[in-house]
Amino acid sequence: MPQIEETYDVVVVGAGHAGCEAALAAARMGLETIIFTVSMDSVAMMPCNPNVGGSSKGHLVREIDALGGEMGKNIDKTYIQSKMLNESKGPAVHSLRAQADKAEYSRAMRMVLQQTDHLTLRQAEVSGIMAEGSTVTGVKTFSGGTYYAKAVILCTGVYLKARCIHGDVSYPTGPNGLQAANHLTESLVNLGIPVRRFKTGTPARIDKRSIDFSKMEEQKGDERIVPFSFTNTEEDIKRDQVSCWLTYTNETTHSIIRSNIDRSPLFSGAIEGTGPRYCPSIEDKVMKFPDKDRHQVFIEPEGEYTNEMYVGGMSSSLPEDVQYAMYRSVPGLEHAKIVRNAYAIEYDCIDATQLKPSLEFRQFDGLFAAGQFNGSSGYEEAAAQGFMAGVNAARKIQGKEPVILDRSQAYIGVLIDDLVTKKTMEPYRMMTSRAEYRLLLRQDNADLRLTDIGYEIGLIDEERYAKFNAKRSTIESELQRLESITVGANKEIQQFLERVGSTPLKTAATLADLIRRPELSYELIAPIDKHRQELPADVIEQVNINLKYEGYIKRQQQQVEHFKKLEKKMIPSDIDYDDVHNLRKEARQKLKAIRPASVGQASRISGVSPADISVLLIYLGM
């Protein structure tokens, strides 16, 4: 029987958040790209929380944007509420989060894919990977089609042999009843790629009309909107926002859960996958924190054209009747009508330590992987990996070196380094505490950190790059100006300082010195800085941060200097660790298994000690 045969440069398997970024990056870099989805209606679907960003995840989105990815632009188009989190804390942990209109988000992303040159979007289930020896040659679909390609990027999310479970009910489907991908795992195993089983979960969705919001605290969006994308201004995207709502569980909720815990598939053993510790189900939280008398519950709209409300903080895999009882014990949800049940989902994924930092399999030339398939969790984590995998697949085909961000450059670097270096035993979630140099890796300076790289990759166009360079030089010249202008201890200045509650000057000081005072800022000293030009808010923000936190930033930069020394020491890919004498046995095993690209990466492998690193360095003659 004649079969479909087509040839592309890049095949992307899966059109979730990882797949979309991967396909867009590759196609925009000029490579003929095809992206497969199990359903045209599930492109960039958000099967769990209806928001993008949040603590440290917001950083990822802004970094993706600075490099030339799509997620930031797409959420700017489709957000219905925007909030800068942690504003009472330092600028390093300020984090942007936007509520998305889920359906709009998905539609808008699909439209972008369909309008991108060199990109083909195709509904089909990829059932096999084709390889000659250790080189990937393309994929086969379940319907019999053959698609040749120089690179294949696996972004299968939670679809591989997916199974949704609550109570003793189990469906062999992906999220939201979508068809699971049941055939690809076998092909991977046949290629010798070991898979493992992870699980995650989602809460119920509740009909808005059944909720009594008067018993909840309203959570409004911010007045000032900070766009995710550096290409947008506040004016570009300003809109009316919808509210979220805060309520709490109570002792009744907890006792309902405790008395039904034996009916949870997690406790009965029906679920074998490992769940995320940092995104626990409500039953996990109740069992883990028996002393807490309440847990936060956020009620979040899923979109403007639906009544569905997401019950944040109460994901669960308890049986349907327990879900009803448990949700209805929460103030405001007494009469809640469930639209969709909460459920846990199990899926096949890989241990990403078999990948290089470029996200290519060490064992297979041209085979890349990104997203939840790599053992991560979260839309943003997926998108970040997808983007890098797409870029590196394209660069490989173009005969260029991969782009690898290190831990001092981006949260994306931290994310990927952790995934490919540390054996994660549960779905990996980005957190601020994972980033050692977070004062340098702020969400506000993602463009300053990464636009140059995006431009070099070819995903930042000339116009945007020129604008960015102008911003950068404005910041620099303004900083210089403030350092160069000295004010004397004259009457006008002293009166001004007294008025704003600051101590008078003893000797002359520069304007920069004044801004460094904790109680002052660039904005506050305007009356005594007569010759300043009007500057955009994002420039002022950089000026303030650079001056106010100068000492801390410098110290962190010094720490980065130390860190970089080891990162730059590369390990030859053909190194024979048996030839390195004096390594301890455990270290030798780990190094053989993970095959780090640099001595820096080697130093982060658990079980490899500083002494082992010294031995390795000596062997390498460094």
Binding site: K89, Q296, S433, Y552, R555, H562, S614, I618
Partner: protein, 459 residues
Amino acid sequence: MFQKDTIAAIATGMTNAGIGIIRVSGAESIQIVDSIFHAKQAGKTLVDLPGYSALFGNICDGDCVLDEAICLVMRAPNSYTTEDVVEIQCHGGIVMLRRILELVIRSGARAAEPGEFTKRAFLGGRIDITQAESVMDMIHAKNELAARSSATQLQGKLSEKIKALRAMILNHIAYIESALDDPENYSLEGYSEELKLQVEETINQVKALLSTAEEGKMIKEGIRTVILGKPNAGKSSLLNQLLGEERAIVTEVAGTTRDTLEEDVVIQGIPLKIIDTAGIHDTVDIVEKIGVDKAKNSMEEADLILYVVDGARPLDDDDMQIMSLLKDRKVITIINKIDMEQVVDKEWITSKLHTSVVEISAKTGDGVQDLYECLKNLFFHGKLTMNDEVYITNLRHKQGLMETIESLQRVLDSIEQQMPEDFLTIDLMAAYEQLGYILGESLGDDLANEIFSKFCMGK
């Protein structure tokens, strides 16, 4: 940027006699030495000196004159390291050298990592690739020991203490980080005040450590030397001879276990930690009293064994038993009592034990000079692995502790300024890493330093 800082170390071997040299290298070396040096010729300064010329004067700590010295200036790139270098040549004496080195470091230099001068020479293109390769071979041959050394350098109470401080700091970092990622379950309310008290307490503890590090320095540094011999072989006399001869008893403390006494002496510039049982001055003999097992134990820890044979009495079972323990150890065999009639066959012992054998009279002091020569040979031919490297390492430890205090002080400043808690972790982490560096549990500033540290200081 780290290659630009200025480093200093004692460049000469540990000889008490003659001249000792402290070498200072780096862009600020000349200014730094100038600040502690007063030339005899009024108005002369090192800064104005051309390369390869010298001034004579005093090294002064404030108003206090430490020593007379000749300061030799070499200007970049015409020096071993290719940087500006000053060599302070003064009147030897390890204690004085150490004081001057500390003064130089206080004035802005950093204690050189072992091997760092050579490293700079290498980086500056001063040594060529074949030389570098032979250096690498040398390092390679020693690396097993080296890899072990950083972790084992600090033992006992001091390292336990540092570990405890580290654990405490890590605990605070972890709490703050948890609160950032999980504000629902971890509150930072009032946390700064609590942290402030703890950090103040920690600073006090590190300061206390610093002062003990100072007192205890030499104790940790000597070559662990055990004197063995049967009863009345003359061990006590030998010990007294050694103690009497040495020029600088640095300290004398009871050891960690109650029944041993540790004496630190510097003989011909070589620091020895002589380990003896508490009962050594009693008439009851160590071998008889605590048995072969105990002797084995103290031997296990020894870098060097001084085996005392009574030359006036025939070898007996005790001697045979001791000799059987000496295999594969570094031993100097001392035939004592040459002032009396000799019944022991030196040739026989030499062929039996394959050790250096010297003949002395501990009572009269005859032949003791031969013992010293023998000791020096062992030491300077690298057969004893303990050398000035360890000495400097401890200076680095000291600097690590000082930097820890500095970082912790910054944490206090940040709390004072009411900085958000996430800022506190930056300096807490720096303190944590500094302490880890001392323990060999974190990777140091520069791993290349660790590698180059496998060979001697003065090179």
